[in-house]
Symmetry: C2
Subunit: 584 residues, 2 copies
């Protein structure tokens, strides 16, 4: 079996403080992890990168809403009904299992089939295949649905049920009316939440890939369904996406086709332009986290794979050493499903009013009865005649009168003298409607693990974490060459100065310089600054590049400006000084 990167990275992550399972001293509780001194900083830098690309640069907004919500929220959202998994319990040992997983494992049924089974069908299949408890061989009971949300009680009254949010989106939908007013009633407009979410998985895998508590990044983008166009699309239309299309999957092929964003939209593979735009941004986002194009793909979900609120959905998948293709984000067209649900449950009007640039003009023919003549000709039948006239399309009457000179209406002979025709012009100033929602959604725990795996490289038998410089947890290390002759004091001074400048810096004097370089390569520190005897003479230091191990020499005075350019504007390392060896 080939080396498993997940094992190696987990070991490194645990030893150096990126991530590890929670509560190990109590035997562990699966589905929970910690992000350590290095991991939490890296994870936050990734979240900040999302903020920069998807929020600040697009002029969208972030909000923060509670994790605990009252039950009605998930009644409206459909989660109470749909956020559940089929479960069976063993009659003897009482252990519980995912019923669909048992059928996949012991009856070789594909998930595409089990995903679509009802409880009765599941029960039937279990009996048919004579599946018993995998642990004790006991009989399996009635399949039941298990609601995979964490349930609790709000306040001292045990009848106020609350749940931990399985997604952050609902916090945005519930508050949509107020948010819409706060941003002065603009469409399109987007709101994001970055925060913890809870899913009470029946049997979560270990590690950061499937968690019971994780950080979700939900961006809900509200549009007018009558003007769904994305003016920003041209910024990304030449970007290519590797797409596994539903039509091909139904034919049994998971082979991706490479399409430009332009084609994917033009040929109708991605129905909403904004969906395509966010997918393109997401591809670039992952590239900036170190995942190359060929290790990314977008898989279109089949009807029975999509969440209950989605009409078209894509998962962005990244190839990982242990698990193969793994979802890192999802893109769903949620239409007006959620706002409608909250409108229904709360009675609050979730519609917005939009004035048309130029009012819509409607012309219609209307019929005016000539009462005097009608009374004269029909007497006491007048009422019935007027009633019948009001029920008939004016255009029809007018047509007959023009053609034949009369119109038979329920036995009455209507003549041109009985009616006049006029044109009425009406103007519609605007319309009320429920906005539709395009949703990109990421999991930042997975993103952080993915960035770690793609940064993990081995050079001369040593681990180097080639993290993109803007997500590396420690930016700089200041190292005195030796622990004597005033070098530590000098190095401390430079350390303090760089801290003052706002960098994330570590000072380290323990062990040989080689061992210290190795230590910082292993946690992905882009640059080591070495203070040596030269420094005391001419105030220059050695900068060492993590990836190339190249070294340049530069003056301490120029450090802050140079390093800002290096980190903020991605300036090339060789631009930081003169190659060591040459005169500086």
């Amino acid at each position: 079996m080939k080396a498993d990167k997940y094992e190696k990275i987990s070991a490194l992550a645990r030893r150096r403080g990126f991530f590890w399972p929670s509560y190990e001293i109590y035997g562990g509780v699966s589905g929970f992890i910690n992000w350590g001194p290095l991991g939490s900083v890296m994870k936050r830098r990734i979240e900040d990168k999302f903020r920069d690309i998807f929020i600040r640069r697009l002029g969208l907004y972030e909000i923060e809403t509670p994790i605990i919500s009252p039950e009605v929220v998930f009644k409206a959202s459909g989660h109470l009904e749909s956020f559940r998994e089929p479960m069976v319990e063993c009659g003897d040992c009482k252990r519980r299992f995912r019923a669909d997983h048992l059928l996949q494992e012991f009856a070789d049924l594909p998930s595409q089939e089990t995903d679509r089974m009802r409880l009765a069908e599941i029960k039937g299949a279990i009996e048919e295949h004579g599946i018993r408890c995998p642990d004790c061989g006991g009989p399996l009971g009635e399949p039941k649905y298990f609601l995979t949300m964490f349930k609790t009680t709000i306040g001292p009254y045990s009848d106020v049920v609350g749940y931990g949010r399985p997604e952050a989106a609902q916090g945005i939908f519930v508050e949509f009316r107020r948010l819409y007013e706060q941003v002065r009633e603009r469409l399109p407009v987007g709101f994001a939440v970055i925060g913890h979410a809870l899913r009470n998985e029946i049997s979560p895998r270990q590690g950061p890939m499937r968690l019971r508590e994780f950080t979700i990044i939900d961006l809900e983008f509200f549009i007018d369904p009558e003007s769904p166009g994305c003016p920003l699309l041209k910024r990304v239309e030449d970007e290519t996406l590797n797409m596994v299309l539903a039509e091909n999957r139904l034919r049994g092929s998971e082979e991706p086709v490479k399409l430009t964003v332009r084609d994917a939209v033009a040929r109708g593979y991605i129905k909403m332009e904004w969906q395509a735009f966010f997918m393109a941004l997401a591809k670039r986002f992952l590239e900036e986290l170190g995942v190359p194009d060929e290790k990314q793909r977008f898989i279109e979900k089949l009807d029975w794979e999509r969440a209950h609120y989605s009409t078209q959905g894509f998962d962005q998948e990244v190839y990982l050493d242990r698990w193969g293709w793994v979802e890192v984000s999802g893109f769903n067209d949620r239409t007006d499903f959620d706002l409608k649900g909250h409108m229904r449950e709360s009675g609050e009007d979730m519609r917005v009013f939009k004035t048309r640039e130029k009012p819509k003009v409607r012309k219609e023919r209307i019929l005016k009865p000539v009462i005097r003549n009608i009374r004269r000709d029909f007497r006491e039948e007048m009422g019935r005649v007027l009633n019948l006239l009001s029920k008939t399309r004016p255009e029809e009457i007018e047509k007959h009168l023009k053609e034949k000179g009369y119109f038979m209406l329920g036995g009455f002979r209507i003549l041109p003298s009985h009616v006049k025709f006029e044109e009425r012009v009406t103007e519609e100033k605007g319309r009320r409607f429920i906005p539709h929602v395009i949703e990109p959604s990421f999991g930042s725990d997975r993103l952080t693990y993915v960035a770690l795996e793609y940064a993990y490289t081995v050079k001369d038998g040593r681990v180097i974490l080639r993290l993109p410089r803007d997500i590396a947890p420690v930016q700089l290390a200041v190292l005195p060459l030796v622990q004597r002759d005033g070098l530590p004091e000098k190095a401390r001074g430079i350390y303090e100065a760089l801290i003052e400048e706002g960098f994330t810096v570590e000072y380290d004097e323990a062990g040989s310089i080689g061992r210290r370089y190795a230590r910082f390569d292993e946690i992905g520190t882009p640059i080591c600054i070495t203070v040596d005897y030269e420094t005391l003479k001419d105030g220059t230091v050695t900068l060492r590049d993590r990836d190339s191990w190249k070294q340049v020499r530069t003056g301490v005075k120029q450090l802050p400006r140079l390093l800002w350019d290096f980190f903020r504007f991605k300036m090339d390392f060789t631009g930081l000084g003169s190659p060591v060896g040459e005169k500086s």
Copy 2:
């Protein structure tokens, strides 16, 4: 009654998007709020300021741990036992009330008294004062304790109980062993968690001051109790603190005394130097959030007011218009209480080993019996003699022999010939001990509200939010003077350029320039950039200062560098250009 700032700020916060109660469309659920498009950014900037002052600059660490913990964690921490409030239920209407609050309200008992009452005493007091249900007048039942933690179940087995963390500290204690190894076994060392916490309050007040879900900032700082000194103390020793001391409170005075950090430590008012250091940093932190010295104080908690884990505790309080003095942070000496608890419950050794710089040398006198002579003189009594000798301090025997030439031991006459004395030297290389913990703890929701209240000012009948520039949610606004003649296009270009530079910028062309200035004053935007006809000619723009309403003129090209200096290095506004009116 004087104007209530809380009302005004809440109205502004709701209208412009700082904060408002959650779930209003469902009638609201008290104890939960949202942070909106402006509030969430401001709150995060405040948390980032904490990170800068308490973590990055001190070389401490941040970690991220789960909100949901298994029950054993809170058994170890003592919360299952202590994190509760006395509650009574009405026999008729079944409503529930805080028993201690009823006694305070209807029996005029001070909280200092009710805080110390046991359930039996509470019951007695309720009967004695004939207190009945405030709602329906019904009889009140047995007082019970209500556990104010949110309870849930982890996984499909309903016997695995979990709780939402009421503080983030335990996530650090549980993982201490691993964290300690990750930072290469250094002491002192500190770890912080910034994240949501849950407290199932029986009757929370509205607004951001008392919440059921809130953001806690817990910093757990681990020290060696044998070397509790704080080498950084000198950085803050001249800082003055307004302190309300326990000894004065016991005498009935809540008057603060002004002490320098140096005196507060020297005179033993603050027992731990690190505690004093963090309190001084916290004072500066609040000053940077806009709260002047005279509106801050530190109140020492009395024995029965302190949390169950604390031996000395101070609350940092800030004066607020509606509530008077309100806690914004707490400083507790948690000793080894928590690590001990987890060591007890998990069996995991929480002790650290510390080698002494120079081994501790212990010298002792030891007595060596001269067997030959003892046998000769005491024969079959030898055993008893040896036994008696082993039970007697060598120094005592030696002293008598020196003085009197013999020593009477249980009837036996011991002579110099029976014993020899030697000196034994032993070395202790190091010691094992459980670190002690100093904890500063903040609530960032409160901090954010406090910053809003202190920024709230009225000038010429208009609201200006004088937020410190580094926590203002929107840094810059770009405004074309009019909506024609190419000014909007020019302004858009400048907006895009500033976005590229990394600033948080808004573009606004709606309404008169005066109304737009007012709009940005109201949300605390430090600088408005106005694009006018001059701009088209000479490429200069007008910068307007939020607080002074002063205006300066400067070239678009210089903007990025100048604005970075303004925001990062607090450069004075007048330094940004030449006063409008003069030649530029």
